[in-house]
């Protein structure tokens, strides 16, 4: 079993929809959680960085962490065609800050 699981998609939604992207993980020691957006032929770009449980909001993006369920989510409100990309989750344990565990990415397509 992989440490981090992520549905590869593709996920196709109409413009303006609310998008929910999710990852599950198996190691309860993970404490720091990240979401990256990767456009075609570009490097992953950090979108959200959260610690432990709870929500974090930044513009149209909300990151949510549920440590009891070992489940993290990224919500995108009012999705735009420019949000079309692959979204990768990542996480690390305390005191092991150089070892990042990645999901395999979810490809999102927002149709105009």
């Amino acid at each position: 079993q992989k440490e981090v699981e992520q549905d590869p998609g593709p996920l196709s939604v109409p413009e303006g929809a609310i998008v929910s992207l999710n990852c599950t993980y198996s190691n309860s020691a993970f404490q720091y959680f990240m979401w990256y957006r990767q456009y075609s032929r570009k490097g992953p770009e950090l979108l959200m960085y959260t610690y432990s449980s709870g929500n974090k909001e930044d513009g149209r993006f909300t990151a949510q962490v549920d440590k009891s369920s070992k489940y993290i989510s990224l919500f995108i409100r009012d999705s735009q065609p420019s949000d079309s990309a692959t979204y990768l989750c990542a996480m690390i344990r305390p005191y092991n800050f150089n070892k990042f565990y990645f999901g395999s990415g979810t490809k999102l397509n927002v149709k105009p």
């Binding site: 990767q38 950090l46 800050f97 150089n98 990415g105 490809k107």
Partner: protein, 113 residues
């Protein structure tokens, strides 16, 4: 002023050749990495250097040799290239103390023919 920059962006070469990829970061981070991304977008760690010292060396053929001349630079040299080496290679950096996330370069797309 790109935070993590790597060159070249594209590399097309024949089997058996030797090639290098260079990476530089201007974020002041103390740790740098090489990741390999396959066609299914999965990111696999290859190497990590902290203050010029190798701290992660995953199961990678010894044809791959990283080198860090200083903490702002990390290069990757690949000997005797094989078809299976074709992938996108990403350089990244982070600050190990301070819980910083990874910052990636834009990748080097290597095609071995």
């Amino acid at each position: 002023d790109t935070a993590v920059s790597q060159t070249p962006k594209y590399l097309v070469t024949q089997m058996g050749n030797d090639k290098s990829i260079k990476c530089e970061q201007n974020l002041g981070h103390d740790t740098m990495y090489w990741y390999k991304q396959d066609s299914k977008k999965f990111l696999k760690i290859m190497f990590s250097y902290n203050n010029k010292e190798l701290i992660i060396n995953e199961t990678v053929p010894n044809r791959f040799s990283p080198k860090s001349p200083d903490k702002a630079h990390l290069n990757l040299h690949i000997n005797s290239l094989e078809l299976g080496d074709s992938a996108v290679y990403f350089c990244a950096s982070s600050q190990m103390e301070g819980n910083s996330p990874l910052h990636f370069g834009n990748g080097t797309r290597l095609t071995v023919t």
